[in-house]
Symmetry: C2
C-alpha cells in the first residue's frame, strides 16, 4: 500500500487504529482451541468483527511461532485472508527482524513478497545493512524500532551519545537517510509524550506506529497532541485490550465494542 | 547444555567450530530440491558429514522462514534430528529475536523449550526486557548481539556514549548484570581484532560467538590471539564457506573437507 492510499484511507474512515493480532494460544477462547488452526480461526473472527473500526492489522509473529509449524500455517492463512478479504487495510508483520546481508534479504522476501504484508517491523541495532533490504520492494514499508514503550527502553534507547543525540534519535538520523516517508515508519511508544513531541520535530512527515495506548498507560489525546501531522501520520496500535476483552463465545463481538470505542474517540480528532 | 559440558566438549575435541546451517533454497544442490523437505534433507546430510569436525551447529531461521510453513517444518526436523542424534553438540537458533513482555516470553519458549535449542541469538535494542525471558531456562543460553562483523556496525554499534562507552560496550555492561557467564554469550565479529581484545578485557569469562572468519575476512589466528581464555571461550562460526563449498552430488563430502581444514587449524591452538 502506498503513502497516499494509506493517508486517504485514514481520512475517509476518520480512523488510525491498528488492531494487534497476538493470538496467545493460552488466551484464546476454549471453544476454538480444538480446531486444526485455532489461531487462524481466532484471528479470522476478530478481523471480521473489528475491520470496520480500524485501518490496519498487525500480526505478532512470536505467538504463531510458539505453536510451531501449525502456528506458521495459521500466520500464512491469516495474511492470505486479510489480503483476499480486506485489501484496503494496511498490514504489518510485527516480526522485529534484524540481520544483515543475504539473511536480511531472506526475511524481507518472506514477509513482503511471499506473504505479501505491506510492512515489517525491523530492529536497527546492526545498522543500515539491517534495513536496506526491506526498502527494495515497491509500496512496501520498513517500520524501524526507535523508542519503545517498555520500561527498559532506558537501558539503551534513551542513552545519550557524544554527538548529543540519544540512541533513538541516532537511529532516526541514520535510518531516514536510507529511505523516505513513503517507505519508512518508526515505532514510538505512546507512554513518552515529551519524546513523541521531540521525534515529531525531527521527522515531521513520517508515519509513526504507536503502541502503548490503553493497557500500557499511554493517552490517545496526548499522542495526537504531540505527534499528529497534516496527514495524520499515526497508526495507534491496540492488541490485548481489544482481542482478549472477553474469552466467551461472544469474544469477537466484545472485541468489536472495544475497537469501536477507540474508533469513536479517534473520529473526534478529524 | 551447561558451561562445563561445553568447555569439556571443546577441550576433548580440541575444536571450537560452529557450523552455520543457512539452507538458502536457491543454493542447495538441485537433486535435493524436489524432496518434500529439501532444507531438512540438505541440513541432515551436512550435519552427518561435518559433525566430527565441529562442536556446535547454528541454524539461521531466515532461510527456513523464506520457505514458509514447509521451511518451518524443516527447521523443526533439523533441531529434532540434532537433539536425537548429536546430543553432545551445542545448538544455536540464530533468530536474533528482540521483543518485550509476553512476546519475548513466547520467543524464548519457542526456541528453548518447544524446539529445545541450547541457545538463541537475541537483539539488545529494547533493553533488559528483551533478554531476561531467555535467561529463565536451566542450562540454556541467550547469545546477545554486541559487535557484529558487518560494515554498517559503525552506523550504530560503535557510536560513543557520553559515559565514554561505545554502544556495544554499553550492551555488554547492562546485559552482564542480568545473567552470568553460564547463561550469557555475546556475538562479536571476527573482523575487528582490536575490539575483540577490548571486549575480552571487559568480559574475560564469557563465551563469544564469533562470525566473520573466512568469507568475511576475519583471521582465526587473530581471534585466538585476542580473545582466547582459559576455557577457550570461543565458538567460531563458519557457514557458507563450508555448506556451499560445492553444489554437486558430493556437496556433503566437500563440506566435510572444508570443516576438517578449520578443525585441523583449531586443534593447533590447544
Amino acid at each position: 500500500m502506498d503513502y497516499n492510499k494509506l493517508r486517504n484511507l485514514i481520512f475517509e474512515k476518520k480512523n488510525f487504529l491498528c488492531v494487534g493480532l497476538d493470538p496467545d494460544f493460552q488466551k484464546i477462547p476454549e471453544h476454538l482451541k480444538m480446531l486444526p488452526f485455532a489461531q487462524f480461526e481466532f484471528c479470522k473472527k476478530i478481523i471480521d468483527s473489528v475491520a470496520p473500526f480500524c485501518v490496519a492489522f498487525k500480526t505478532n509473529t512470536a505467538f504463531f511461532e510458539e505453536q510451531g509449524s501449525n502456528g506458521w500455517i495459521s500466520l500464512e492463512k491469516t495474511i492470505k485472508y486479510l489480503n483476499e478479504n480486506y485489501p484496503s487495510h494496511f498490514t504489518i508483520a510485527d516480526a522485529k527482524r534484524g540481520d544483515i546481508g543475504n539473511t536480511a534479504e531472506a526475511y524481507a522476501k518472506t514477509f513482503l513478497q511471499n506473504m505479501n504484508f505491506d510492512s515489517v517491523t525491523v530492529a536497527p541495532y546492526m545498522g543500515s545493512d539491517s534495513i536496506l533490504p526491506f526498502l527494495k520492494y515497491n509500496n512496501k514499508w520498513a517500520i524501524v524500532l526507535a523508542l519503545t514503550s517498555n520500561k527498559s527502553a532506558d537501558d539503551f534507547e534513551t542513552k545519550q551519545l557524544v554527538n548529543n543525540a540519544t540512541n533513538f534519535e541516532e537511529v532516526i538520523n541514520f535510518t531516514t537517510k536510507l529511505g523516505t516517508n513513503k517507505n519508512l515508519m518508526f515505532v514510538v511508544g505512546a507512554t513518552r509524550a515529551d519524546d513523541l513531541k521531540k521525534i515529531r520535530s525531527i521527522i515531521p512527515n513520517h508515519f509513526l506506529l504507536v503502541p502503548g495506548v490503553g493497557a500500557q498507560g499511554g493517552s490517545l489525546a496526548d499522542v495526537v497532541k504531540e505527534a499528529w501531522n497534516k496527514d495524520c501520520g499515526l497508526l495507534v496500535n491496540s492488541s490485548r485490550s481489544i482481542i482478549f476483552a472477553s474469552n466467551s463465545i461472544h469474544f469477537n463481538k466484545v472485541a468489536a465494542v472495544e475497537a469501536s470505542k477507540l474508533a469513536m474517540e479517534m473520529s473526534n480528532f478529524f
